[in-house]
């Protein structure tokens, strides 16, 4: 991440388009499933046929309210859909149904942290709207293909205040927002499929000066691209101004191949969207009772969950943060704790350590973990009740990863039950002491390092099953003579 030259300050505001996870479209009963054959999810309303009318999907309203409540925003008791007009082939009606003067969500905020420094980013508004279709420029030589499957998919457009000052803050805000909408269950967060995409408004100024002229870079669909696009834009704008030039208010496109942005259209050529309230739709009313009902149905949010993990399980901030980064991971961890009955910290070590490492290695998400939470709990429980040692547990874990079954079955099949019978351990040690007189003499003569040799021999003799604590203690006693 490049740093901003001294004497300059960047001002950044982000607009995030977040597809809502409703089963059907915002104004029709057509399915929203991604990846279907082109135009198979475009009914009469989606196609914008003559005479069709929109009917609001209340589930989209519920999801927008959930988002609003999660960022401490005001939920409008009455909000209004407006038509936003422009011509484009993948916009079937010649207008997009959006919200303009009376959005559903206003005045919220999100708290972020960059390098340990906390900062509050204001959320100006979030409004409901329908997505457009897709233009396919490569599919038919000489023609542009139109796929309207996506048209009419519900979106919330989340507009931040210009509170962001560099690309690191922008990425932190986006990641936090992403985590939030996924945790709320209102968005699948799939950036590659465009479920969560970002427009970045960037300007630069001398600190304390009024806002500079801003550019808007459209449709950036990864955290890294957002960082690159913002860094590029800041650097470009400073260069232009320092060379005596002026920034044009314009829309720009980010090219992921070069990491650069280029001008798409200037403000002079901007559309006059001619917003006006959509006469086909009634104002949407969300009563206080609706709000409370929706609030009661909301899952625990990441920030609250993190605090709870620290207090309830005694975890470090680092572990709590990691375990609550995804709700599926948090659920996994809590199942391990509950089912195993083991110490919360031990469970955390297994989940954040061995399990996440294994998942990372195989590129799998927690949802696709080859070891279920109940299975891992079974393993941790056997450590807790001293059936196996922590060391043996690593082997059992590997076997579980390889699909060899539950911990108990593996322990039984491989005869891995820990030897806790001190008589048996002492007998094994006696045999080793008797068989290695030279090493015993050396040890007793002051070569302390040889202790490890005896531990190794004893473990070997018990196939690693000896209780390590008992083995150490008895070995020490016996060697002391």
């Amino acid at each position: 991440m490049s740093s901003i030259p001294a004497g300059w300050e960047a001002v950044i505001g982000l607009e995030v388009h977040c597809q809502l996870l409703t089963k059907t479209k915002i104004f029709s009963g057509a399915s929203t499933t991604y990846g279907a054959e082109p135009n198979t999810q475009a009914d009469a309303v989606t196609l914008g046929l003559p005479g069709v009318l929109p009917v609001l999907n209340r589930e989209a309203v519920t999801m927008a309210v959930k988002f609003g409540l999660s960022v401490d925003a005001k939920i409008a008791e009455t909000c209004v859909f407006a038509r936003k007009h422009y011509f484009y082939p993948d916009l079937p009606k010649g207008y997009q149904i959006s919200q303009y003067e009376l959005p559903i969500v206003e005045q919220g905020h999100l708290d972020i942290e960059v390098d340990g420094v906390a900062k509050r980013i204001g959320i100006t508004r979030a409004h409901l709207e329908e997505d457009a279709g897709k233009s396919l420029h490569d599919a038919f030589p000489g023609f542009t293909g139109i796929d309207l499957n996506r048209a009419g998919t519900p979106l919330i457009e989340i507009v931040s205040e210009p509170d962001i000052r560099n690309s690191a803050e922008a990425v932190a805000y986006l990641k936090k927002l992403h985590q939030l909408v996924v945790a709320l269950g209102v968005c699948d967060g799939n950036m590659q499929e465009g479920s969560f995409r970002c427009d970045a408004n960037v300007s630069v100024r001398k600190p304390g000066a009024p806002f500079g002229t801003r550019t808007e870079t459209k449709n950036i669909n990864s955290f890294r691209y957002v960082q690159q696009a913002i860094d590029y834009e800041i650097e470009r704008q400073i260069e232009v101004i320092e060379a005596g030039g002026k920034i044009n208010q314009e829309t720009r496109l980010f090219n992921p191949d070069t990491g650069e942005t280029r001008a798409m259209r200037s403000k002079e050529n901007a559309n006059d969207y001619r917003y006006f309230p959509d006469p086909d739709l009634l104002p949407v009313v969300v009563t206080a009772a609706d709000q409370e009902r929706i609030r009661a149905s909301m899952p625990e949010l990441p920030a609250a969950k993190k605090a709870r993990f620290e207090s309830q399980y005694g975890l470090s901030a680092y572990d709590a943060n990691l375990l609550t980064s995804e709700s599926a991971l948090a659920d996994y961890y809590e199942t391990v704790v509950k089912v195993s009955g083991a110490e919360a910290k031990t469970c955390a070590n297994w989940v954040t350590g061995d399990l996440l490492a294994a998942l990372n290695k195989s590129g799998k998400a927690i949802e696709d973990s080859p070891i279920s939470a109940t299975q891992l709990a079974g393993l941790v429980a056997r450590i807790a009740d001293k059936t196996i040692s922590g060391k043996i547990a690593k082997d059992v874990f590997e076997a579980m990863l390889a699909g060899e079954g539950d911990a108990d079955a593996i322990i039984k099949a491989k005869g891995l039950v820990q030897i806790t019978d001190e008589g048996a351990i002492a007998a094994a040690i006696d045999a080793i002491i008797a068989g290695n007189p030279q090493q015993v003499a050396d040890y007793r003569g002051g070569k302390d390092k040889l202790f490890g040799f005896f531990v190794g021999q004893a473990m070997k003799a018990t196939q690693g099953k000896a209780n390590p604590e008992a083995l150490n203690r008895i070995l020490k006693e016996k060697l002391a003579g």
Partner: protein
């Protein structure tokens, strides 16, 4: 057969005096023989009509017939009909075969069992008051072939007046049912906004558009309106409120009913012929026990300018979907995307539609929105409040339907403002969303004169009953044009 009322036709069908096939064929024959002079149909659908007639005959035979089963009907070409061209009077949709049925099409044909005779000519996208803006040429008034039938539902009224359909659907955004009904001696009703579903009705101005019916009597109109009305989950502006029994309400006495005469509507502006007709209607209603009183609708004179901001604004938006991309006219001349839009729309839309799109685009533009659209919405609210206040004093309001009788072709077609002023008496009802109707009250030099009744919200039943009582006492509505 084509002079019988709907109730008489239903009785004939039930008594097996004639079958629905015979009745439907009778109309199809009349259309084939006589519509050449009128141009009221743009598409005749004999195969569909006869198949639906056979289905109706089967229902009649099973004793499962409703009040309208087997009686044919023609649809204004603004309603989408699956598998049948739905052109809305425009070159833009000349080749558009609708892939779905409008809600009222389902209700009238599939449910009520009325055979579809065909699709009726109209002003392009319902924008016009004379039917001269249709891509399919003007409709002629059967009372005088040199005169307009009114608009935009010109085809609807001409075919019913001439006996080329027993009854027809129509739509009314600013008077498009009432003015043509007045010009052709018919009874036409525009119900309360939201009473009839707009789903599948090609939108002109969404907040004003309302479907209704043109018929040869209030009783006929009541029967068909009853079958069209009701809540539709596909139309968010449709009313979730039970529909009164419009037909059962036709017997009630109107003695003691209070009707208001808005002084703003009786000032200068109407012709002597219209004034005489309206005054005779008032006199006739007095003999039936109706009490009249003068009322004031002070903002009524602002109706026309308000309408000509709101309606074009909504139209400019509603017609944006006709872009040549997915359906409708696509220019073969276009070499790039911008040309595709400009040429397809330039070629597909006629002059009046283009004019209204321009006006609408202008009033919604940045910097003009507040001065025009927002201001018009405020005036609209005042007009609505005028009516609300008036209905605390009176039950109904009576007014002229038109300024004059039907005018000759070409009379106003070069002067949009003169054409727009045609709707001066009818527009306020659309702006307020109240039900309103026109019915015959006399003739002037052989041309029909109508008068208008406006009701309170949801009061279609009372409107129709007053009209019915008037028609029991008069026989203007029974007159038919010579030669038809």
């Amino acid at each position: 057969m084509h002079t019988l009322s709907l109730n008489e036709l239903a009785a004939g069908l039930k008594a097996r005096k004639f079958s629905s096939r015979e009745l439907t064929q009778h109309y199809l024959t009349r259309i084939a023989e006589r519509d050449g002079a009128l141009n009221s149909y743009v598409t005749v659908t004999p195969e569909i009509a006869l198949a639906q007639a056979d289905a109706a005959d089967a229902r009649l035979a099973r004793g499962e017939a409703g009040a309208l089963t087997g009686i044919p009907l023609a649809q204004k070409d603004i309603f989408c009909t699956e598998g049948v061209r739905t052109a809305c009077g425009s070159k833009m949709l000349d080749k558009f075969i609708a892939p779905y049925d409008a809600t009222i099409v389902k209700k009238l044909h599939a449910e009520a069992g009325m055979p579809l005779l065909g699709k009726l000519n109209m002003d392009e996208f319902a924008m016009g008051s004379s039917n001269e803006t249709s891509f399919y040429g003007p409709v002629k008034n059967p009372w005088d072939l040199g005169r307009v039938p009114g608009g935009s539902s010109g085809g609807s009224v001409a075919c019913v007046a001439a006996g080329l359909a027993p009854v027809a659907t129509a739509t009314d955004t600013g008077g498009s049912i009432r003015q043509p009904a007045a010009f052709t001696n018919l009874t036409g009703i525009k119900p309360t906004y939201g009473r009839v579903s707009r789903y599948g009705m090609i939108a002109f101005a969404s907040s004003l558009d309302q479907a209704g019916v043109v018929a040869r009597s209030a009783e006929d109109a009541a029967l068909v309106l009853q079958a069209m009305s009701g809540f539709d989950p596909l139309d968010s502006t449709s009313l979730e409120r039970p529909v009164d029994d419009l037909v059962a309400g036709l017997g009630a006495s109107i003695k003691g009913l209070k009707i208001g005469l808005p002084k703003e509507y009786f000032a200068d502006g109407m012709s002597a012929a219209v004034r005489a007709g309206v005054e005779s209607a008032i006199a006739q209603l007095k003999t039936l026990g109706v009490e009249f009183r003068e009322i004031s609708l002070p903002n009524a004179p602002l109706s026309v300018p308000t309408y000509y901001v709101v309606a074009p604004a909504e139209a400019s938006s509603n017609l944006a979907r006709f872009d040549g991309v997915r359906y409708g006219h696509r220019s073969v001349e276009a070499r790039n995307l911008e040309e595709l839009y400009k040429k397809s729309r330039g070629e597909g839309f006629g002059a009046e539609v283009q004019r209204r799109i321009m006006i609408g685009t202008y009033v919604l533009s940045h910097g003009y929105y507040d001065a025009y659209y927002l201001q018009a919405q405020k005036v609209r609210k005042l007009i609505y409040e005028d009516f609300k206040r008036a209905y605390t004093e009176v039950d109904l309001i009576l007014a002229p339907s038109t300024t004059d009788v039907a005018f000759p072709f070409g009379d106003k077609s070069d002067d949009p403002v003169a054409m727009y002023l045609n709707d001066i008496y009818t527009i306020a009802a659309n702006l307020a969303g109240i039900p309103a109707m026109s019915l015959p009250c006399g003739f002037s030099e052989g041309l029909p004169v109508g008068f208008q009744l406006m009701g309170n919200y949801f009061d279609e039943g009372r409107l129709l009953n007053v009209a019915h009582q008037f028609q029991l006492a008069t026989d203007f509505h029974r007159a038919t044009p010579k030669g038809f």
